[in-house]
């Protein structure tokens, strides 16, 4: 039904001073001496991408290739140095925003706080309250302060809040490792249902095998450039080939 993500020649360029400037005092000294030189680092270089509704896109590449940067641009965390981003709908990073929780507040109070951090209005949160508590299986504890929860309970609550609203764009870059088998199963089913309902999914993994099983299309990022974009088998093959080539080279030089 049309694209939900359009990236148009995106470049993300980091600019850092050559001298190590960690504090304001150091900055002031360098600025006064007028000898600040900058080095630039291109995290993404002229990347163009289009993702349609309901598509499951895999992203492969080595560490530092720009995968996280690409996701950050899509999640609106990073504004590209150049190029144009257009999004339709909400992006859900599917993360446990445990960092936003406050231990002194009850589970219920934390739901409202967390939901608000995710950009939800009070009304939206109220309408999903029952589902959140039920999915996390925390009915008995929801009015106790979070500091009484086990780490598993906290994680379940976080995931439950983060996944209760169907996202239009879903970003998966963490292996689902919270909770017991039963909970993990529930989460997988939930993600699957989102995908059936038409959410576009971006899946980042180091294991190209999981990309192959879950995605029909993939892109390969290398040093910030898009090296391939197409059917998952082909792209993964290219990626693997290049990795083998690298390893062989390194092996030779030893």
């Amino acid at each position: 039904m049309g694209p939900v993500i359009v990236l148009d020649n995106i470049s993300v360029r980091y600019r850092a001073p050559e001298a190590k400037i960690g504090t304001f005092k150091e900055y002031a000294i360098q600025a006064l001496k007028r000898n600040m030189r900058f080095k630039e680092f291109n995290a993404l270089n002229n990347v163009s991408l289009q993702v349609d509704e309901g598509e499951i896109l895999g992203i492969v590449g080595r560490n530092g290739a720009g995968k996280s940067t690409l996701l950050k641009v899509i999640a609106r965390v990073l504004i590209p140095t150049e190029g144009r981003v257009r999004l339709r709908g909400r992006v859900s990073p599917l993360l446990q925003l445990g960092a936003g929780f406050h231990p002194e507040l009850t589970g219920m109070e934390n739901i409202f706080l967390n939901g608000a951090l995710l950009g939800r209005t009070r009304r939206e949160i109220e309408s999903r309250l029952e589902d959140i508590v039920e999915f996390a299986d925390l009915e008995a504890f929801i009015h106790s302060p979070l500091r009484t929860y086990s780490s598993g309970m906290v994680a379940r609550l976080g995931f439950s809040i983060a996944t209760t609203w169907k996202p239009d764009i879903l970003i998966l870059d963490e292996i689902l490792s919270v909770g017991d088998e039963n909970f993990r199963e529930k989460c997988s089913l939930r993600i699957e249902s989102f995908q059936k309902e038409g959410a576009a999914t971006l899946l980042v993994s180091h294991h190209s095998s999981s990309i192959e099983t879950m995605c029909s299309r993939a892109i390969w990022l290398d040093h910030g450039t898009m090296k391939a974009d197409g059917a998952v088998k082909d792209v993964v093959a290219l990626y693997r080939q290049s990795e083998r080539g690298r390893n062989k080279q390194q092996g030779k030089s030893l």
Partner: protein
């Protein structure tokens, strides 16, 4: 280039090239996130009193306790100031608001910085919520303050009705300062420490503990009138301690400084905020 068409059920949300001025965009974004501001303020207030026995009463008592000790210590020194307790407290309450909210804003913004690594949140939210918490604490401490002022015989007149304006102006000033400082704090971790020292020195430069007339005449005018907090404190003291409206030579510069600082701080922060994702 394919165009994205908004449909009935999902609205077109983001086009990085159709951006209005960052300052305006940030304002609209913050309005969208107003529930978050409420939640953050609620979190601050609720967690502060959840574990205390006295609860909300503590909000009023604790800061005043410290100030009363100061009042006792200094009132012998400044005997000639009538109702010194009220003089000191009216200045100190406003000062504490300013110092605490600006500090909290820096801390909260840096905390928020760790969150925006993963999702989008308008960063001004954290400064605004710090100010919001401060306003509530300030409002609560006004009650015992007014009682004390009455006890020591200060005139409480209809000028008291001016207080909401004083509130507003000091809030605007504090927010502007908070935004400027927290922008810098995102880049430089030592800003927080440097600010502790600056705020201490600043307090001694402002006639809070002492009456303004002990400053040497030659410097007095400049020390007072170049200090933005002098105006803010005076606008607070006038209705509470003097029972009068602040005079125009306080009110006009005070208003201008307050609004200009807020505007400058907001624009500076909003423009820099684009880069935060790169820094964090």
């Amino acid at each position: 280039m394919t165009e994205i068409q908004p449909t009935q059920d999902t609205e077109f949300t983001y086009d990085s090239q159709q951006r209005k001025s960052p300052a305006l965009e940030e304002l609209l974004d913050v309005i969208k996130y107003r529930d978050l501001i409420f939640q953050l303020v609620r979190r601050d207030i609720v967690t502060r009193y959840k574990r205390s026995i006295l609860g909300i009463a503590w909000t009023m008592l604790q800061p005043l306790g410290m100030m009363l000790i100061m009042a006792i210590v200094f009132s012998t020194l400044f005997q000639r100031v009538e109702g010194y307790v009220a003089y000191l407290l009216s200045g100190l309450v406003a000062w504490t608001f300013f110092a605490q909210t600006t500090n909290a804003a820096i801390f909260q913004t840096v905390w928020g910085g760790s969150l925006i690594r993963r999702i989008h949140i308008p960063m001004t939210t954290f400064s605004i919520s710090s100010i919001g918490t401060g306003v509530i604490n300030l409002a609560l401490s006004l009650i015992p303050l007014l009682i004390i002022a009455l006890i020591v015989g200060r005139p409480i007149t209809w000028a008291i009705l001016f207080l909401p304006v004083s509130f507003l102006l000091i809030t605007a000033f504090a927010l502007g300062v908070s935004l400027i400082l927290s922008t810098m704090a995102v880049y430089f971790p030592d800003i927080k420490e440097m600010y502790q020292i600056i705020i201490q020195a600043w307090m001694y430069l402002t006639p809070i503990i002492y009456p303004a007339d002990i400053l040497p005449e030659t410097y007095r005018f400049w020390i007072l009138h170049l200090n933005p907090m002098y105006y803010m404190i005076s606008m607070f003291r006038a209705p509470i301690y003097y029972g009068m409206l602040p005079s125009p030579d306080i009110l006009i510069p005070g208003t201008l400084i307050s609004l200009a600082t807020l505007l400058a701080g907001w624009i500076y922060f909003a423009n820099k905020a684009d880069e935060f994702g790169y820094k964090i």
